[in-house]
Symmetry: C2
Subunit: 502 residues, 2 copies
């Protein structure tokens, strides 16, 4: 028997990973199409087609032969550092995926297809009950998944770990408990001050003008539209089929300017990350994003630290006035800046300000934890939700559509995703503080509409590494320390002191 | 060993065919996206992804275990008629596909992806030479395919048979030789008569109005837009991912009304066929169209026998005048009817009138035959093309874009496809004659914009059968005889006698 060289073995591994990636990305195309252009009656067969691809990709990835190849490669000492890391991560993924059977993966995929469509139906009818049963089935399968994947303390840890390696309920309980009080205090202070005016954002802003303005912003931030595109979807998202085809979606509300613009910036933050991953690592771990929370750090950094800054407003002021001359007639750029940063407890997470946003996440985190541990059932969600919106944010939820039916995530089986939204915001603040430290002229650049320097910094510090480091390792590598909430809190304090004058 | 019942075996077969269909249709989604929305830089990876899915579907379909299952099922005597036919056809397909290795299928898929993109580039530069080399590679592979599939007389027969079972060069040489002379005589007569005016079709027709009018026609003809959609593509086509998701594409030329409208009707003819296939036969032969020529019979029937009839013009006259009041100000419905039926030798096949259309096909048929037998090379195509446009149609081809670069087919590796366009037109005439015979009030229905009766007739006579019959069997079943060109010639004579007054 001729022993293969490490290079040959690695090529073999790479070839298999390419095939699996091709199938997974094909499935992503089908999902993108499902949320943008699919004719309504096509949903049934489409669900089946996606389930087949998921099952197939899983079957190929958990093939014993691939496992043996990975084991064999792991023992090789002559691999380059990046190759070694790819193999290590693939073996980790393999070991994890191996715990789930292909039939389980198919079952889960079918169940989420079904619950996605009943979520759409439930939203239309504004009735959570119509969704509860299909969601229960998904929760049941996610519990099984947690058991299969294994965990030390809490079954939810298995799902959290799946979105951000190393994350668990102990860490997150501590994080949210640390931030809850200072955030609440800040909110109370703000609420006691005279409110800023943002009524001007709620006039008629024609679709076409919003679309064009959003596209301009996408381009200016450095999104390559030859390697991506934007479409309209019910729930904005970013998806990628390779680094040369990274797509964003948005929605336009003609009665609210704030809806689309910052959603565009948010999604493009995700897209810039995907467009910055190394092309040569297609299909391999180092060609993938580090984690969901690092992904979110990129969208939040662009959305909040750039998009909601006074410098950003100043740069776009002329263009905004051109697109919306009547709507912004009596408004100054300072008014505009204050308006888009207005803090006010509200019902919809994606419309929330930077501060109250995290109460939305906390509520979802608590519900997920309780659903997975079985201490509440899906039918209890509306009550739990509405009670906590009252106690955390002091607002009354009028109906399910503006309450527990607002997010698509659970219908997709994404449990453990929401916490990464808060973690991402906190990472963003920490990264941006470091970037400012190293490039103090960033705000002036933003005022001139120049973003190459910041993008270059992110490409070099974050994007190019793919999954080389965990979130915490990456954070330490970039900033010298793991995640700390101080940066975020300081930013909040500075911004709102200025806006609310306290 | 427990012997499985025929029902169990059939379920097993059906399950495997569903998986394969899911993969093939996923690949079709990726191809649809490629021709409608793909960002330009995404083409490379997309080609690879499509090739992986093609190879995978082929590998699963040619798995020995599926072959054994099909053999086993073939021997069963207790299958229902439709089940038996499905098994028979699948075994036929299996035996054929088995002759091609998965690596050959992948090679072909990669080569056609590449040549498709160089065709696009060559069109941009208006230079066939830029495309010739990649096309040669495709021709080389198609020759290999012909050899692998096998044939009795001519290698091209293998490819013809692939598009229309039973079709070969002997049949087609005879068909084209039968039709060439009477068509040429008719053309000469027409050319000797005063020409009709169609200048009014070449004014400015705004995109949006054309789009809306086209959409209205699609709906009126019975196309279910809840189970389909229309998008813009460079080269109009119809594709289907299941009978609940059948999509058409179109292109709009603002300087020419005739470009989009009849292309819409043509494509919707294809789409109505796909929407009319039996849903329960998803993934099985009886859930597929009978052949390319029968498919074309459906598009041609709607495009020519309905869309180019005086009754159709009469029904849409009011709406057309509403959409294009200035453009059609001085035009009568008779002028309009004559204009859209003007016969005049022209450069572009898809813009050709019903009569000269078949000279375009003959030229392509001859070129394909010669390429596959090796008597000409791809570099010879422009010369051969231009000479024959001169001799058959008396026109000079000014450049490659209006000449041999006009069609996408060869870049896709579709050799043997073009002849089915003529066969389809002739089948359409024969079918429509029969339909008229059985439902003499069809023209009056068309004048009222009512198409359910004709659609119902086609559903019952053609669509519902899937691949149960070959083209010729189906034609005989419907009309009592195999394909005859008389119906087509009689229609042509009657129409143009009236228009050109001879």
């Amino acid at each position: 028997m001729i022993t293969q060289t490490s290079a040959q073995l690695f090529e073999n591994y790479k070839g298999q990973m390419h095939t699996i990636a091709d199938i997974r990305y094909a499935s992503a195309v089908l999902q993108w199409d499902q949320e943008t252009y699919l004719p309504p009656k096509g949903a049934g067969f489409r669900g089946q087609q996606i389930a087949t691809l998921s099952e197939l990709a899983h079957r190929l990835f958990t093939d014993e032969k691939l496992g043996n190849l990975l084991q064999d490669l792991s023992a090789r000492t002559d691999l380059k550092h990046a190759e070694k890391r790819n193999v290590e991560l693939s073996l980790e993924d393999y070991t994890k995926q191996k715990k789930l059977s292909s039939s389980f993966v198919r079952k889960l995929s079918e169940a989420t297809q079904k619950s996605f469509h009943s979520w759409i139906g439930a939203r239309k009818e504004n009735k959570f009950a119509r969704f509860a049963e299909d969601l229960s089935r998904v929760v049941e399968l996610k519990k099984q998944e947690a058991d299969l994947l294994g965990y030390k303390k809490h079954p939810y840890d298995a799902l959290l770990n799946d979105h951000d390696k190393g994350s668990d309920t102990i860490l997150l309980d501590a994080l949210f408990s640390d931030i809850r009080v200072p955030l609440k205090e800040l909110l109370d202070t703000i609420v006691s001050r005279p409110q800023v005016n943002d009524n001007f954002l709620r006039q008629h802003f024609p679709k076409q003008q919003q679309w064009e303005f959003g596209m301009q912003v996408l381009k200016d931030l450095g999104y390559d539209l030859e390697a991506g595109r934007q479409d309209i979807a019910e729930h904005p998202f970013t998806t990628n089929f390779n680094i040369k085809d990274v797509r964003v979606t948005t929605r336009i509300d003609e009665t609210d300017l704030s809806n689309m613009v910052w959603s565009c910036i948010h999604e493009v933050g995700h897209a810039l990350y995907e467009q910055g991953l190394p092309e040569s690592e297609y299909g391999l771990p180092l060609g993938e994003a580090a984690s969901y929370s690092i992904h979110e750090s990129q969208s939040r950094l662009w959305e909040n630290h750039i998009g909601r800054s006074i410098e950003f407003c100043e740069y776009y002021w002329t263009l905004l006035k051109e697109y919306f001359p009547l709507q912004l007639k009596d408004i100054s750029v300072t008014d505009f800046y204050k308006g888009i940063n207005k803090v006010s407890p509200s019902l919809i997470r994606t419309d929330a300000d930077e501060l109250t946003y995290h109460f939305h996440v906390m509520i979802r985190y608590e519900i997920e934890k309780k659903l997975i541990e079985g201490s509440i059932q899906t039918k209890d969600i509306p009550t739990y939700w509405n009670e906590h919106y009252q106690s955390y944010l002091g607002i009354t939820v009028p109906d399910d559509k503006q309450g527990c039916l607002q997010d698509v995530h659970w219908s997709h089986g994404s449990f453990g995703y929401f916490p990464t939204y808060s973690q991402g915001s906190f990472y963003a603040a920490q990264f941006y503080a470091k970037a400012l430290d190293e490039i103090p002229e960033l705000p002036q650049k933003t005022r001139k509409g120049e973003h190459q320097e910041l993008l270059g910094w992110l490409r070099q510090r974050v994007h190019q590494h793919g999954r080389m480091y965990t979130s915490e390792e990456l954070c330490t590598k970039i900033t010298g320390a793991g995640l700390r909430i101080d940066y975020f809190l300081q930013d909040m304090l500075a911004k709102y002191r200025n806006i609310y004058q306290f």
